[in-house]
């Protein structure tokens, strides 16, 4: 369990603000889903992997006798897909974004059970353009946050699935292999020798080589003319996306292993890394909406992981700002306290941030200090902390005038 301190929240809000602004600029609308969802939303094949499912916090709800269980939201995308299916499926296109926490049952009790994500999902639309849109949107957020040395890795779930098919495993073994891969164990794929040396050659090439432009994929296409139709069509899809990214000047690396953790991806998948750490990822998941009993609507999306991104942002001090005012009471008499509150309220109403202080501590980082003594004819003393000048003030109107003029 983790507390977020004021300096953490400054970074948190900065990420959130940049993310929201970018999403809005691209026409995305914000949604929020409940923390508790029904377990059955996440159990179907093609949603969460078994290892993720074994880490959901699940429990009985108020109608526990029915046996229906609820979970603490273990994933950001599936609830948003549910929201889309339940309420927005009449829309041809839906661009949605969210900032949310997700929960994972953490076996050791030492790591965090709650993590934050900024995510965006694109429902409907044709292929290609939305894929590129979400990649560019994610990249823009990261760039605007000022994170340097980022790497974008691209893969394609269709390519991986086609490769697995070529190994001609039994359905049970194929499912096991899929689970291993989704948990990051790509070595399993090289160990599973197929009967076809051509397939082994393909596996070795894709796991061993990391291309940096669409040319690499053209080379793959030319080197493996006997690859299956499924493989070729996924390759074509990835070629189209990478060509577009090349032309838009977006750099990336093709790494087939850049898929992690989710069963629902069907098309292009991507991950962003900074300082070697994953800070976001996403991809196309065309089967998820129909699998959840929605219509046959294609979709894609991504999420940025707030916790590692916070680590990458420089520490910020709470900015007292150029306009912050401190209102101090000279003594703690009821009259002075009351006057201080009146002064603060007037300043707030006029749009100035103003903070109260009755402790007599040394002030710092303020633009102005109003000392309330309550003694006529000039019950206030106004200090200009920048010009280092003090002056008496007779009325609130006078204070407002000086402060507003800067």
């Amino acid at each position: 369990m983790q507390d977020l301190f004021p300096e953490d929240m400054l970074r948190f809000r900065r990420i959130e603000d940049v993310f929201r602004t970018c999403c809005r600029n691209w026409g995305y609308q914000e949604v929020r889903t409940p923390t508790l969802e029904y377990l059955h939303l996440f159990t179907a094949m093609g949603t969460l992997t078994p290892s993720m499912l074994s880490k959901v916090y699940s429990f009985l709800d108020w109608d526990g006798w029915s046996g229906e269980r609820v979970v603490l939201r273990p994933d950001g995308t599936i609830p948003v897909a549910r929201l889309y299916i339940d309420n927005l499926s009449g829309q041809e296109l839906a661009r949605l974004f969210y900032v949310t926490n997700i929960f994972a049952f953490e076996g050791t009790g030492k790591e965090n059970r709650e993590r934050w994500q900024c995510g965006a999902e694109f429902f409907g639309g044709a292929k290609l353009a939305p894929d590129v849109e979400i990649i560019l949107l994610a990249e823009e957020v990261i760039r605007r946050l000022g994170i340097s040395n980022i790497a974008l890795q691209l893969s394609h779930a269709g390519l991986v699935k086609a490769l697995l098919k070529e190994l001609k495993l039994s359905p049970g073994e194929e499912a096991k292999m899929t689970n291993r891969i989704l948990e990051g164990n790509w070595q399993a794929l090289t160990k599973a020798k197929s009967t076809n040396p051509e397939v082994d050659r393909l596996v070795a090439a894709l796991l061993g080589l990391k291309g940096k432009s669409s040319s690499f994929l053209h080379n793959v296409r030319a080197s493996f003319p006997k690859a299956s139709q499924d493989f070729k069509s996924s390759l074509e899809d990835l070629i189209n996306i990478t060509t577009l990214l090349d032309n838009l000047g977006c750099s990336y690396k093709i790494d087939i292993a850049a898929i992690h953790g989710f069963e629902y991806y069907t098309g292009v998948c991507f991950q962003f890394l900074a300082a070697g750490e994953k800070i976001g990822g996403g991809g196309r998941y065309d089967s998820l909406v129909p699998l959840m009993n929605g219509e046959d609507i294609p979709a894609c999306g991504f999420a940025l992981y707030v916790d590692p991104i916070m680590e990458l942002l420089p520490l910020e001090k709470e900015q007292k700002g150029e306009s912050e005012i401190l209102v101090k009471g000279k003594e703690l008499t009821p009259e002075i306290v009351e006057t201080c509150f009146t002064v603060a309220e007037s300043l707030h109403d006029a749009g100035h941030p103003a903070e109260l202080d009755f402790t007599g501590r040394e002030e710092s980082n303020y633009r102005w200090v109003v000392l309330v003594s309550g003694k006529e004819p000039s019950p206030f003393m106004l200090t200009d902390c920048i010009q280092k000048r003090q002056r008496d003030a007779a009325s609130m109107a006078e204070i407002l005038k000086v402060v507003s003029e800067g």
Binding site: H40, S54, G67, G107, G172, K176
Partner: protein
């Protein structure tokens, strides 16, 4: 941090099915405990050979948990209860040292032969909602998740899982001696999850830090390579199974009757009421007795499970205890189940008791005592989790920890718990174990409970009233 230098070793020994093979094994390896037999009334045993070794007899369900939390260094219990723990808490401090190579049967996933479920692939395909009943809810959940069943609901039960399919559950996860044994219960095994054998287990921290070698050496001749007992995670869904499909007749009104201690007084009561039954009054009780009313279906299950099973509509009426009804209602107050009338037998007191040595006379003194942090957190053993939880909250005992038990909570005091909340008839057992009652929560006796929706249903109303009237005649 525990003191590992004292050399004092605690061993948890199983009650029930493994008593006699475990006793013979211990005798054979010269680690016998006097009084460890089927007939024992005591819980604490001392080793004749090692003065620093003590043992306690516990329910097997409790042993895996008690060893994992570190109350015992070593334990012997069945692989089913070990896996039930580990499948949910794989990082738990429970280490399997070795199989002891006795035990029988396996944990199976079964369906009723009449349900028409032929193989496992039917379960993961489609979007049917499957009800799974089990004494092993964690194993049942892991099975359902691994199979990628889209919709399932798990109903944990205290026992009698075999009685539920097909009307009250689609699947059950239960122990069976063999496929044939399961078939005699009208069930077909769909998958074997794991064989049941006794295991020597240890607490991880004890094993890493404490010298247990004297005891482990005694077992050395018995330690063997570990047979395959972890639950099989594979998606082996090829087993084709053909059940004989007969038509099963749904009944209009379903009544649940208790097994165990409550069976004899309930029989007396039903005879007085003039309800003619076959298969319940006899010494060997059938799970499905029949009545001379053709619209009445009867099943014999655990009284603990009845309130929830009536609430979810599997039964319209049931004879259970008021304690178990409250246990459900405290957790889920809007459950559609209500008490119709008390039956006047099976009366017990639900009490809070502590060791006679604890210097408190009532719950108020206990509150101050806990606040003085002598016993913070207060460890409370109870088989009534929700009743105990509410009682402790209402009395502002803070902090406390609940230790769920499966009966015989007195075995936990004073070493593994500070207080118990349990039922007593006379209080004699508590006195024998040097415990004293500090509060009586309430009195409970057997009662007839009904599903509220059934009571209001126009289809069922008349027959429900007929049956309740008939049962009312049994009141003395």
């Amino acid at each position: 941090m525990k003191d590992y230098q004292d050399g004092y070793i605690k061993l948890a020994l199983p009650k029930g099915r493994f008593i006699s093979p475990t006793a013979s094994l211990l005798a054979e390896i010269d680690l016998g405990f006097e009084g460890y037999s089927d007939k024992t009334k005591q819980y604490r045993l001392r080793s004749a050979r090692f003065p620093s070794l003590s043992a306690k007899i516990l329910q097997e369900k409790d042993i895996s948990i008690q060893v994992a939390v570190g109350n015992y260094d070593l334990g012997i219990c069945g692989s089913d209860w070990i896996e039930e723990f580990l499948v949910k808490y794989p990082a738990g401090a429970l280490v399997k040292i070795s199989s002891l190579n006795y035990g029988e049967g396996s944990i199976h996933v079964v369906a009723s032969a009449e349900a028409g479920i032929a193989n496992l692939s039917e379960l993961s395909a489609g979007s049917n909602d499957y009800r799974i009943v089990s004494e092993y809810p964690n194993l049942a959940e892991a099975f359902a998740l691994n199979l990628r069943m889209r919709r399932f609901r798990i109903f944990p039960v205290w026992g009698a899982a075999e009685a539920y399919p097909p009307e009250s559950a689609d699947l059950a996860v239960l122990w069976g001696k063999s496929g044939a044994h399961i078939a005699t219960q009208g069930l077909i095994p769909l998958k074997r999850l794991l064989p049941v054998t006794a295991f020597l287990i240890a607490n991880r921290e004890s094993l890493e830090n404490k010298d247990l070698s004297r005891i482990l050496t005694c077992f050395s001749s018995k330690l063997t390579a570990e047979p395959q007992t972890s639950i099989e995670n594979g998606l082996d869904i090829s087993e084709e199974l053909k059940g004989t499909r007969t038509l099963w007749q749904a009944k209009e009104i379903n009544l649940a009757l208790p097994d165990g201690h409550q069976q004899a007084p309930t029989s007396q009561f039903l005879k007085r009421a003039g309800l003619a039954l076959q298969g319940y009054f006899e010494e060997v009780v059938s799970r499905r007795p029949s009545a001379d009313l053709d619209w009445l279906g009867i099943k014999v299950i655990r009284p603990q499970d009845m309130p929830l099973q009536v609430a979810n509509g599997n039964f319209d009426l049931a004879i259970t205890g008021e304690d178990w009804l409250l246990e459900l209602l405290y957790r889920f107050p809007s459950s559609p189940v209500k008490k119709l009338f008390a039956l006047g037998f099976g009366t017990v007191k639900i009490v809070a008791a502590v060791s006679q040595e604890m210097p408190v006379a009532d719950i108020d003194e206990l509150r101050s005592f806990v606040q003085s942090s002598k016993f913070a957190p207060l460890k409370v053993a109870s088989e009534y989790i929700n009743i105990a939880d509410k009682y402790l909250r209402d009395n502002h005992i803070n902090p406390y920890k609940l230790i769920p038990t499966w009966g015989a909570s007195e075995a936990f005091l004073p070493e593994d718990a500070d207080m118990l909340i349990d039922n007593v008839q006379t209080g004699k057992t508590l006195k024998q174990h040097k415990l004293k009652i500090i509060d009586v929560l309430f009195r409970s006796s057997a009662c007839l409970i009904a599903n509220k929706d059934s009571l209001a249903s126009s289809d069922k109303k008349e027959k429900m009233e007929f049956l309740t009237q008939k049962l009312r005649a049994g009141l003395k």
